[in-house]
């Protein structure tokens, strides 16, 4: 083969290789899906009424079972924190096993620092705060994923593609709320997804269904008649760590400055 022929043929080959790649763009499944569904008919949001939470941990238990996060593994998609504020102004926080079994003792579990007993007459206030993924409008975890394995759906939920995640942990580092972890079985990033498989089928998330006190509610911000939307529109709600600019979409009633 002459050099000229070789050059010609290799250009042809390179051109030929590029063509199918551009053809694939025509059948971008994500775009097809987006075009098929009516855009903007839902935006999932969550409401936590901390006044109603008793720290029973049913939500954590239900979540672990529903989403197949190994029951005894020390990671969880949702958890409940206990806050005990003493009269000297100190705040004591714990969440043993994510409160999967509730809070079995009045002592504060300080992990390696041991259990701390707080005399009842020193307590000025105490309450529980359930935590879960905030499904941020500006999710830092989606921004930092190097391969696009974590993505935000049109209805506002951030999901992880277990087949694509490389397990670098950058999203775990990027989340200010500490909701992400490595799944002990699949060895990829894992997080709360508002039970996406349930809410898209008209069900409520497992934690909402499991809560006996109605402390957890899930709703659709685009539906003005949704009870959650109405609470958010009419009452004084707050969100966690607004200063990170993540625009969290889990709203809290009764949030105080002590909550981390």
């Amino acid at each position: 083969m002459k050099r000229r022929d070789f050059c010609k043929k290799s250009l042809l080959l390179a051109g030929g290789l590029v063509l199918p790649l551009s053809a694939l763009e025509l059948f971008n499944p994500a775009r097809l899906l987006a075009e098929r569904s009516v855009p903007g008919d839902s935006r999932w949001i969550f409401l936590v009424d901390t006044h109603k939470c008793t720290g029973c941990g049913f939500c954590v238990k239900a979540c672990k079972l529903e989403n197949e996060v190994p029951y005894d593994a020390n990671v969880t998609r949702t958890w409940v924190e206990r806050y005990v504020v003493t009269k000297d102004g100190n705040t004591h926080i714990d969440s043993p096993k994510g409160a999967r079994d509730g809070f079995l003792t009045a002592q504060i579990d300080n992990n390696h620092a041991g259990m701390k007993t707080i005399p009842e007459d020193e307590i000025s206030k105490a309450f529980f705060v359930p935590k879960l993924c905030n499904q941020c409008d500006n999710p830092p975890c989606v921004q930092v994923c190097p391969v696009g394995a974590t993505y935000q759906t049109a209805d506002g939920v951030s999901l992880v593609d277990r087949k694509w995640c490389i397990g670098c942990g950058y999203c775990i580092m990027g989340c200010p709320y500490g909701v992400r972890f490595f799944h002990p079985v699949h060895h990829v990033a894992e997080k709360c997804n508002f039970c996406y498989h349930r809410i898209t089928q008209g069900l409520k998330s497992a934690c909402v269904d499991a809560c006996p006190f109605g402390a957890r509610m899930i709703g659709n911000l685009r539906d003005p008649n949704d009870p959650v939307t109405q609470v958010i529109m009419t009452q004084r709600v707050n969100v966690l760590k607004e200063e990170y600019g993540t625009k969290p979409q889990v709203f809290y009633l009764g949030l105080t400055r002590e909550v981390k």
């Binding site: 930092v144 490389i166 709320y177 490595f182």
Partner: protein
């Protein structure tokens, strides 16, 4: 056991999912890339800025930088939960992520270094191939070498004066492009950390610049150290071979070359050391002075929990001691070696204090996490992210370097190029 649980010890309130997810290999990653970038910058001082005294170490550090290059991504692969999918970073990069640019920056840099090495050694490849071809009865090994050098010439056999001049120009151009790319390669490693807004210790725009400066410091230090090490080895080998081949340079010759190279290079080391310390102190002072929300917990980490690691080992042993050692008059090779060892320890501790220190406190600012390095592995996880994994990363560039040094003449001894 959950990933990270084995080596994380929690104290007070830490979110249930928080562990030290980025462990020793992520300490190794900026450390190794830093060495790559630093070694390259050192070689460029000669090729671009014409610092003649560095000629000897320039070739050496260029090849060494190339040997270090594959090792820069080794810790990343070893840390991934799905190492087989690591290639996806190159194939399906998601460009809003700082890590996604890694493939592009890394390959660009690799090509520049490979290109530069090729231009520097092209004359040698041609001459070696021609000399081997002229041999009448070649051994199988020589035939192999002939094939290798023939391939390495890439068909460019012209070694006329004019062609060599063009080579030199190309080296200069590549080295000039290489400096910003090397700085980018490493500054961007700093950006990976500096841009994590969720981490109070990492998030600072100074991070990339601090990383570049300490990279150059560590790169130069390792080059001095390895250079001296290999010179000592050669003194030893030549002493044995000299009886058969009297043309080999004498020990005194080697020694004088070694001393002048080491003293000259140390000056650049001190320069970059001053820059690195200034920036790190600026960062610390700024944090102390502004004392934003996260300062309470950061103060506890910096001044209490990690005090020894930061102030004694990193700043004291790793910065102050070598600074004094290098600036005291009458610098000897031995003292320079001691100083560079301290410098390397200091830079390593700086990476450690950033990566591990950044995870030493909970995102709730109400608790701490302590890291204990797995020393004896009991499964793959504790091997990959333990002492042995880190040692593997440290040893690999030397194995590669020995391989490269067998193909390329790395040491010039001040002879003609």
């Amino acid at each position: 056991m959950v990933h990270g649980e084995f080596w994380t010890l929690k104290e007070f309130f830490v979110y249930p999912n928080e562990y030290i997810y980025w462990s020793i290999q992520i300490v190794m990653y900026p450390f190794m890339t830093g060495l790559v970038a630093g070694a390259f910058v050192l070689s460029s001082l000669y090729h671009v800025f014409g610092v003649k005294q560095l000629k000897d170490i320039a070739r050496f550090s260029l090849v060494f930088s190339f040997a270090l290059l594959p090792v820069a991504m080794m810790p990343l692969l070893m840390h991934l939960m799905q190492p087989l999918r690591g290639i996806e970073v190159m194939l399906t990069p998601h460009f809003t992520s700082a890590i996604a640019a890694f493939g592009i920056v890394f390959t660009t840099y690799g090509m520049i270094v490979a290109g530069e090495i090729w231009f520097v050694y092209r004359k040698f490849f041609v001459e070696s191939a021609l000399a081997l071809r002229a041999q009448s009865n070649r051994s199988a090994f020589d035939t192999l070498r002939l094939r290798l050098y023939t391939v390495l010439t890439l068909g460019a056999w012209d070694i006329s004066e004019h062609a060599l001049e063009t080579d030199e120009k190309a080296v200069k151009v590549l080295a000039s492009i290489g400096i910003p790319v090397a700085c980018f390669l490493h500054g961007y490693a700093g950006f990976i950390f500096g841009s994590v807004k969720a981490n109070a210790l990492w998030m600072t725009p100074l991070m990339p610049v601090i990383f570049i400066c300490s990279a150059v410091v560590s790169g130069i230090a390792l080059c001095i150290l390895t250079y001296v090490g290999s010179m000592e080895l050669r003194k030893f080998l030549y002493a044995r071979k000299r009886s058969q081949n009297p043309a080999l340079p004498s020990n005194e010759e080697l020694k004088s070359v070694e001393t002048s190279v080491v003293i000259m290079t140390s000056k650049y080391l001190v320069m970059f050391l001053i820059l690195a310390i200034s920036l790190e102190l600026l960062d610390l002072i700024f944090r102390t002075y502004t004392a934003v929300k996260s300062w309470d917990i950061l103060r506890a980490v910096i001044y209490e929990i990690d005090f020894v690691k930061i102030f004694v080992v990193q700043y004291g042993l790793g910065n102050l001691v070598p600074f004094i050692l290098l600036l005291l008059p009458g610098l000897t090779v031995r003292r320079a070696v001691l100083a560079t060892v301290f410098v390397l320890i200091g830079v390593f501790m700086m990476r450690w204090n950033v990566v591990i220190g950044g995870q030493a406190f909970s995102g709730s600012f109400s608790g701490f996490m302590h890291y204990s390095l797995p020393i004896i592995p009991h499964n793959l996880e504790t091997f990959r992210e333990g002492l042995l994994g880190a040692l593997l990363v440290i040893i690999t560039p030397y194995i590669l370097f020995v391989g490269l040094a067998n193909i390329l003449p790395v040491f010039g001894e001040g002879k003609e190029d």
